[in-house]
Amino acid sequence: MKTTVLIIGGGIAGTAIARELSKYDVDVTLVEKEKDIAFGGPTKANTAIIHAGYDDKPGTTAAKLCRRGNAKWGRLSSELSIPFRRIGSLVIAFNDDEISVLYELMKRGEANGVQDLRIIMGRELFEMEPNLNRKAAAGLYAPSAGVTSPYEAAIALAENARMNGVSFLLETEATGIIIKNGKVKAVQTNRGTIHTRYIINAAGLFADEVSAMAGIEEFKITPRKGEYVIYDKNLRSLVNHILFPIPSPISKGITVTPTVDGNLIAGPTAHDIEDKRDASTTFEGIEEVLRGACKLVPCLSARRDAIISSFSGLRPQPSTGDFIIKSYEEPYGFINVSGIKSPGLTSAPAIAEMVVEILRAEGLRLEMKSDFKPYRRPIEHPFRDFNPAKAEALIDQDRSYGHVVCRCEHVSEGEILEAIRRGATTLDGVKYRTRAGMGRCQGGFCTPHIIKILARELGIPVEDVTKKGGDSKVLLYRAKHLLIGDEKE
């Protein structure tokens, strides 16, 4: 196989780069080791915030790209129909020391070019957030902050990139890089060798390992675990903005945030661990999240019953402390897009543009396509914000929209079929594209239905349907299998 630019990693950075490159007349291939886009790690499990840009030190790559990226989300989300709401954020201070931190953050934000930052005190603060801890003294308000859905964003970027000619190879893991005469030649994968002139390393948690394959060992990636809890949509009106505590030296702290889908999310913790595959939650972690959440919004302490899920995500923390986005003299053609920790999601569209500039500087001729298609049609969700006229029109076109399969999020079979047409092959793939199984019953009702739909549409036995690829089979046997053994079924 042959390509011109090979992107390693189908997370938010990789897919944003793929989509940006798909505007140009160039042959691009993206490889992802997992079964689906955004399955890898950081992209599927983070706070889903589009940050305003006051956190990172002026002069860092992260600071620059965060503000630029933030500004691009409005257009990006409307072109690609990615759920996105600019709800604004508040950093909450509880005492004078913390208030002085707010002023520092504001100054830093202004140096980074963030506009409209404002410190809010007294009654106005509680008018904005009636359920905020009454002991709160002040808040740094950043109206440009927002919330999105990171996996939906990555999926949308990938869909649009594919529409514009990018090839996607899933379950394809880079295992080696071939360099000849100081130049990148090819990437070896579990599915064969792919010849390429340029390699973009957007391998997230594993970016240091991929980089080392190219002989560049100038940084290490440490997985920083962040645990979260999700609350029922019943609590959606409890909080209006993204609420942050005062940041710690390593993290922006445990936030309480309305999600773009109308739930509340609390988290993350920030603990460096060793195993890049250990996305487990812990008893202590969840307790820490709940303590943090209750400090900001005390009434949550009585609402443990409204928790519908908990999960953890790993941020790829680079040893350099900043994004590593650069090319090398040797091997020529290798470009790192590594250490894309927070605010990686915010920065992704700006990272993609930066990569285009780097490729140009490296001598790749990039000419705009005349037939670039910037828009992506969303999967219609007629019952999500129930709209009778829209629902009726869809059902008239396709009766399967009349069969509601997920009772909590009101997802119809039509939406699931559309998700499968767009590339979902697993329960999680359907879930990320439709929200089926993300509601309060967490798939209790819809899982049996969706397994059957997946098997039917993919033409595979029901026992081969997986949760997320690999060995994650859901139903191991047919009835009576263990009683009769392999005798006959």
Binding site: F383, E392, F445, L475
Partner: protein, 414 residues
Amino acid sequence: MIKRKLDIIVIGGGAAGLAAAIAAKESGVNSVLVLERNPELGGILPQCIHTGFGLHYFKENLTGPEYISRFISRVHDLEIEYKVETMVLELSPRREVWAVNQHDGLLNLKADAIVLAMGCRERSRGALCIPGTRPAGIFTAGTAQRLMDIEGFLPGRKVLILGSGDVGLIMARRFAMEGAEVMGVVEVAPYPGGLDRNLQCLRDFGIPLYLRHAATFIHGSDRVEAVTISRLDESGKPIAGEEKTIECDTLILSVGLIPENELSKGAGIQLDPNTGGPVVDENMETSIEGVFACGNVVHVHDLVDHVTQSGEVAGKNAAKKVLGELPPLERRIHLRPEGNIRYVVPQIISGERPLTLFSRVKKPASNAKIIVGEKISIHKRIVKPPELVTIKLTSELLKKLNPEKKELTVTMEE
């Protein structure tokens, strides 16, 4: 879009809903429509293939499918209209229902009376925040039961069960009977959560019961590989060093049922925080006039016989409402649970007619007296949290009530 006006809409075609629809039709109401989201009528019962149903109602020992088939036949005999695979999307306080199915498309329905019979849903792993990974192979007991006994699958071969409620115990036996290895049943409380008769499920198959234990970690990246359980101290905290890691490929959760009241909340119906269901009066009418509720949507029952009976009360009174024969209650006496009484249903009585109250206790007790108001005292030899306590208020007993009182406490003396 189909727009229709009906006399009565019953939301949910399980034991409660079918009983309500039958009672309503038998009371002389013509247009009754049952809406059910599953592909078949019967709610949970078609998958409850074990015996033990109908001992009170039919004085027979039936399986779930047999029990409910009698009601389904009656629905057919009475020509009661029903729609399956139909999801109710919204209920308005003005008794307007939005529903949808593949055949009809959108349905915009209105009725003089609505009967809520949506049943309950199972608490999930997420709600419990059980630490660990997120592999395949974790099912709620009811989902596993449906997969096994309707869809014909066996989810796994080495199974650990969390929660010793009835469904958990029954599923332990069911997995064992399918040849799976049941590694144990884990219960947080110091006593089993299910009925005594269902403990037999464990003893017959030598399945260990870990009381006062909790699952503290789920292992496995793709599929469940093991679950760590820990012994709990008196306060419910895991005791360090008292862990045990049990190898399994499947984890079944039977950790509580929650009345399914999203539609009720949407309509603004008043809920009782103690039951999780609507506040109902002795006619099973909710805080919205003309909206009735019955079965597990009101509170989680342990016997289907009682669910059926509550459906009949709701259906009969919904019919009376439609026919203009249901006068307002003479008095509305609110019952307030106290002490060891966790809840009482109905929450509002008139004190004029004899009735049976259903109650659940917080802790087991023996030789207890249930005190209603000040003067009514009913002896109970034994009460346990898993078993509903019935409180029969006869005409004789009701005479003892002070007619002036607007609120009565229901409490227990040991």
